[in-house]
């Protein structure tokens, strides 16, 4: 079976599975580009396109393990007689699609600057787009390739043995080694791209001087080396790596079993019960949190990191960029919380059919999910936005923006929740 056939089947299944909103979620880099274009419209700078391109490239590299091993159909494919190279190619195609989305997103973000530019001999927006596209193409090659090498590392008997010691209760997630090589690749990619930024922003640097090529050469070399190595390793190592990963994933419950609602979430649950008489609301609320925390531990870490970033940006970013960066970051966090609310409506967190076989009113489920979304929005956007309010030059604008994000996120979430059908 060819990678093309497999990818076509995966696309077919994805199109059938996702509703109208699925497109929106899948196309979020484009939406991000549009938001950035709107924000950067007046200044016409290249900061936003660069941020989206670089952020996207980092995500694509770090997403390597997902493109290769944790893709929804990876388990089904591994049961079929499919060679490691084909698996690698499927992963590469998956990563390439994501990278293409980000290239378009970057182009959208760069559109105002492209329109405002004054001639082809020096055009920062065009150069930014070229740099980001190069980085994203390299990322699409480096992500799955480095993930395969990381997987091969995990599958080494030595590695598995040391991992087993960490499997003791309370230990760290055992598959944490897997993103190791992708993270190193992402760091190199990021460093090389950042080194090329003067070429984008400073008009005095001529286009055809050898040293300006250096970052591109570094990028391409990195991607090429990784891809060649991964191609060589794939036939022997893909299956072994995949087996090691599922074995380690299966051991994960040892630590995830202990996770459930934290003190803040529990307190909010008690508060929630004051607004309703139906005991089922609290039952559902607790169940949702336990499932979400166990299934999506990384989402909580990511939200926490986002909050820290928002606080830092709120305190340290000065000048014109303050309001823009605070709102963009807070917007990203708000969207992420809505995505989590969407996840809370789907298996394995929720089985709507099972809910309908239990004597729980719709309102209890809605209330539980909406109030949790509100708590998450209030924490991630509201609380983490406070420093930006206090320290920023335009507290009123930031306040209105953050408020709008919370209300908008809540409304979007409630719309999702009220439309959910088994």
């Amino acid at each position: 079976m060819t990678a093309r056939r497999i990818a076509a089947r995966a696309r077919l299944e994805a199109t059938r599975a996702r509703g109208p909103l699925g497109w929106l979620l899948a196309g979020w880099p484009l939406a991000l580009g549009a938001v950035a274009a709107a924000l950067g419209y007046r200044s016409g700078g290249v900061a936003w396109p660069l941020a989206i391109g670089l952020g996207g490239a980092t995500l694509v590299v770090l997403g390597g393990p997902w493109a290769l091993f944790w893709r929804a159909d990876a388990a089904a494919l591994a049961r079929l007689p499919i060679g490691g190279r084909v698996h690698l190619r499927v992963g590469l195609m998956h990563a390439a699609r994501r990278a293409a989305l980000f290239i378009v997103g970057t182009a959208i973000a760069a559109a105002p600057a492209l329109v405002a530019s004054d001639g082809p001999d020096f055009d920062p927006a065009l150069r930014a787009l070229a740099l980001c596209s190069a980085a994203l193409v390299c990322a699409a090659l480096a992500g799955p390739s480095s993930a395969l090498l990381g997987g091969a590392l995990l599958a080494q008997p030595q590695a598995s043995r040391t991992k087993l010691d960490i499997l003791e209760p309370g230990g760290p997630p055992p598959t944490q080694l897997l993103p190791l090589i992708p993270s190193i690749a992402a760091s190199i990619l990021l460093a090389a791209t950042l080194a090329a930024i003067p070429w984008v922003t400073r008009g005095k640097v001529p286009l055809w001087v050898p040293y300006t090529w250096a970052p591109f050469v570094a990028l391409t070399m990195l991607a090429a080396v990784l891809t060649v190595a991964a191609r060589a390793a794939a036939p022997g190592w893909y299956r072994r790596a995949w087996l090691a990963i599922i074995a380690l994933d299966r051991a994960r419950p040892i630590w995830i079993e202990r996770t459930s609602a934290g003190p803040l979430e529990a307190a909010w649950g008690r508060l929630l019960m004051m607004t309703t008489t139906h005991a089922g609301t609290l039952t559902l609320y607790r169940k949702d949190i336990t499932n979400l925390r166990r299934r999506y531990p990384a989402a909580y870490a990511a939200s926490g990191a986002g909050m820290i970033a928002l606080i830092a940006v709120g305190i340290w970013v000065r000048g014109e960029a303050h309001v823009q960066s605070v709102l963009l970051l807070a917007g990203g966090l708000a969207v992420y919380q809505v995505v989590m609310a969407w996840r809370a409506l789907r298996p394995p967190v929720e089985h709507l059919r099972l809910l309908h076989m239990l004597p729980l009113p719709r309102s209890a489920a809605m209330r539980a999910k909406a109030s949790y979304l509100f708590l998450r929005l209030a924490m991630c956007v509201g609380l983490a936005g406070v420093p930006a309010l206090l320290r920023g030059p335009e507290p009123a604008l930031v306040g209105v923006g953050l408020g709008a994000l919370i209300v908008g996120g809540l409304l979007a979430g409630i719309t999702l929740i009220s439309r959910a059908r088994p």
Binding site: R250, P253, I256, E257, A279, G280, T283, L284, K287, T290, N291, R294, R295, P347, P348, V349, H351, R353, L354, H356, M357, L358, P359, L360, P361, P422
Partner: protein
């Protein structure tokens, strides 16, 4: 008490259940037999209120499932196929959730059920770690927690090892003895013959034949294979 009259369910143009009527008294175990695609699961999902119906009336414990779903569901236990479990809850957390949702949190009963079904050691494991047969049993236990007056059991005894199958049978019989009205679909004719008070053989959405208590007793007397002969003589190969 489960009462169904003139139930009709369509999936698009396909008629899955065609004007089906049945009633199950407290303490009765009605076996629902029939080829794959006969409409057994659809009938049960309609009774459970999770399948839109195109006609008919359904009541559970005297309460209409379409007009008062919440009240009806409080006394109804369902073990569906395949079992719907919260994969990231432990077995006992899952049972506690279901019991709480039915308004009767009763950890002792849940623990007792788990022990009887041979799942005592699995109580602390995540549902997603369980084998097929264990999932079937957890689903059965979840149907039985809380104060249920009616039970719908969809092929839950399939795939169980001999000990587990007997344990499953016994908890179902015990529930009936406590006054639950039970509908149980199965392809295991031996178990149906032994456990059920009455059989309904379905085909293409309709009741093909009802085997009443006396007849069933007669079949039992005729010995092993009598029901199988009756069934095979009655029903063609599996429909779609």
């Amino acid at each position: 008490m489960i009462a169904v009259s003139d139930l009709t369910v369509r999936y698009g143009k396909r008629l899955a259940v065609d004007r089906l009527s049945l009633s199950v008294a407290p303490g009765e175990i009605v076996g629902l037999l029939g080829p794959n695609g006969a409409g057994k699961s659809t009938t049960m999902m309609a009774i459970a209120g999770v399948c839109a119906i195109d006609g008919g009336k359904i009541s559970v414990d005297g309460v209409d499932i379409t007009t008062q779903p919440e009240r009806a569901l409080r006394r109804l236990g369902v073990a569906d196929q395949p079992p719907t479990l919260y994969e990231f809850l432990t077995v006992s957390e899952h049972l506690a959730f279901v019991a709480e949702a039915r308004g009767k949190p009763d950890p002792a009963r849940a623990d007792g059920l788990l022990a009887r079904l041979g799942l005592g050691d699995a109580a602390k494991r995540l549902c997603r770690e369980l084998s097929f047969g264990m999932r079937q049993r957890v689903s059965l236990a979840a149907a039985l927690v809380g104060d249920v007056a009616a039970l719908l059991i969809d092929e839950s005894l399939n795939g169980l090892d001999p000990h587990a199958a007997r344990a499953g049978r016994e908890v179902i019989e015990a529930a009936a003895a406590e006054g639950a009205a039970v509908i149980m679909s199965t392809h295991l004719l031996g178990i149906a013959e032994r456990v059920c008070s009455r059989l309904i053989i379905m085909e293409a959405g309709r009741i093909k034949r009802e085997v009443v208590a006396d007849e069933l007793a007669e079949l039992r007397k005729q010995g092993a294979g009598a029901l199988e002969e009756l069934y095979l003589g009655l029903v063609g190969a599996s429909a779609t």
